[in-house]
């Protein structure tokens, strides 16, 4: 069975599934934030809000946000930011894949811990983006834009805090599998103990 896409929502999503409307609205807002007229001198510092939101939903609502959505948002970003077609699509998809892979692990961390583990993803996405631009069409690359990746990692903390508040998500809601395992083990023990004398 496919563990990455369970048939029914599991863990916290099972208790309080995130509504599709919330995901859509936050993503649109993030996209509009990217469209804001940031001053050109600060452009290299502005994090990619769409990617931040996408990764948040990949981690907390994987039944809503998946690789297809990442690809779609990437294409939208390509059209908007004027890069090569497919450039952001590729990096968004890879970032979403990495986030989905980290999902289980991240659920056990607090906010800053999650941000710290997501920071390499943001940074790598930005680096790959610049490298792709360099490889395909740009004559030269402004390496300052790597700072935007770090900024996204730092800015993810308040954004995630806000969204956690909106969805009511806490890592306390995570159902620890440890209890099940011990109970299974004790069950096994009791079975073997029962068989032993025979």
């Amino acid at each position: 069975m496919n563990a990455d896409k369970p048939l029914v929502p599991q863990g916290p999503e099972l208790l309080d599934p995130v509504s599709a409307r919330l995901v859509a609205v936050t993503l649109v807002l993030a996209y509009l934030a990217n469209l804001l007229p940031w001053p050109d001198s600060l452009r290299w510092l502005v994090p990619d809000f769409t990617l931040m939101l996408l990764l948040y939903w990949c981690i907390h609502a994987p039944h809503r946000a998946n690789l297809g959505l990442a690809m779609l948002l990437g294409l939208l970003a390509d059209v908007t930011l004027g890069g090569l077609m497919g450039q952001h699509a590729l990096t968004y998809t890879l970032a979403a894949y990495a986030a989905l892979g980290l999902r289980r692990r991240l659920e056990n961390f607090h906010l800053s811990g999650r941000a710290l583990q997501l920071l390499p993803i943001f940074f790598g996405q930005q680096l790959l983006n610049l490298l792709l631009g360099l490889a395909f069409h740009l004559p030269d690359v402004d390496w300052r834009f790597l700072v935007a990746g770090v900024a996204a990692g730092l800015f993810w903390i308040p954004v995630a805090h806000l969204l956690d508040g909106l969805t009511g998500w806490t890592n306390k809601m995570h159902i620890e599998p440890a209890d099940n395992r011990t109970s299974a083990r004790s069950l096994l023990k009791s079975q073997s103990g029962a068989r032993g004398p025979k």
Partner: protein
């Protein structure tokens, strides 16, 4: 969940990732090699640009409002700066006027035909001795430049004075108007030989001990006579202003004004001996 499938039929995550990556790469190659995606791009731009403009509007408005409030202070600051600048320019312009005058005088000095047997040397006045009777100036040429004591000093208009002391790199010039200074002259009109003396006043010379019927008229030009071998022949010295008839003394007195523009410019010419330069050159 009634319609939940019994078996997962969706593709694995990695498979989907590979598919999406492949699609993205194809898109990138197509976009960079062909112009196929230009229409998509222009269509999407037509949708996105109005949105961007709409988003930019509040910020434009805010910056405009900010401008409205900062404009007053800005104008004040600019006004202050402009006033300062205009002062700076005015002072520069003054310097320009002075330079223009000096340039004109230097040109005149250059055009001056110097008397035979002399070698003119331009010198700059570096200091003026403040003694009201003994009028002297210090110029920046000295014995190192071949200046000798006793040589006449002229400017573009006429005689200025005489070198009285020579130092290594400067020399002292006694002006014609100083009290001790005399010069043998000739009336240009009739060749009458006279001696002009300084009075200690800046703009007055006089000829003393004249016969009361002497033939000198106001407006006569007095030039050096060349008799004393100090001043070469024919340098304009003074213009006669008036003749004072004798009162308590038996002699008449002629009051004249110097022709050389004494105390007006910063440069003078020292008329060195032509053979002195040759001699010093030979010594070297």
């Amino acid at each position: 969940m009634a319609n939940a499938p019994m078996f997962a039929r969706a593709m694995g995550l990695t498979t989907r990732l590979a598919l999406y990556c492949l699609a993205s790469l194809v898109l990138m190659v197509v976009d960079s090699r062909y112009d196929a995606l230009t229409t998509i791009r222009s269509l999407s731009a037509a949708v996105i640009y109005p949105v961007q403009g709409f988003l930019a509007k509040p910020f434009d408005f805010l910056s405009e409002a900010g401008d409205f409030f900062t404009v007053h202070g800005k104008i004040l600051r600019e006004n202050r700066r402009l006033i300062l600048e205009s002062q700076v320019f005015a002072s520069r312009l003054q310097g320009y006027e002075a330079l223009k005058n000096e340039n004109a005088q230097l040109r005149k000095l250059l055009n001056l035909s110097h008397p035979a047997g002399t070698r003119p040397m331009a010198a700059e006045i570096i200091r003026i001795q403040p003694d009201p009777f003994d009028r002297r100036i210090i110029v920046d040429k000295g014995s190192a430049d071949g200046v000798e004591a006793g040589r006449p000093v002229v400017d573009a208009a006429g005689l200025v004075g005489q070198v009285t002391r020579v130092y290594a790199a400067s020399s002292e010039v006694s002006l014609l108007t100083s009290k001790e200074q005399d010069a043998p002259v000739q009336d240009q009109r009739n060749g009458l030989r006279l001696i002009v003396s300084g009075t200690g006043s800046g703009d007055q010379l006089e000829v003393r001990y004249l016969d009361m019927h002497v033939d000198v008229k106001p407006g006569d030009i007095l030039v050096t006579s060349g008799i004393d071998t100090v001043y070469p022949l024919g340098i304009p010295v003074a213009r006669v202003l008036r003749i004072e008839p004798p009162r308590q003394t038996p002699f008449a007195k002629v009051v004249c004004e110097p022709i050389g523009e004494i105390g007006q410019h910063r440069h003078v010419l020292i008329l060195n001996r032509a053979d002195a330069a040759q001699a010093s050159g030979a010594r070297k």
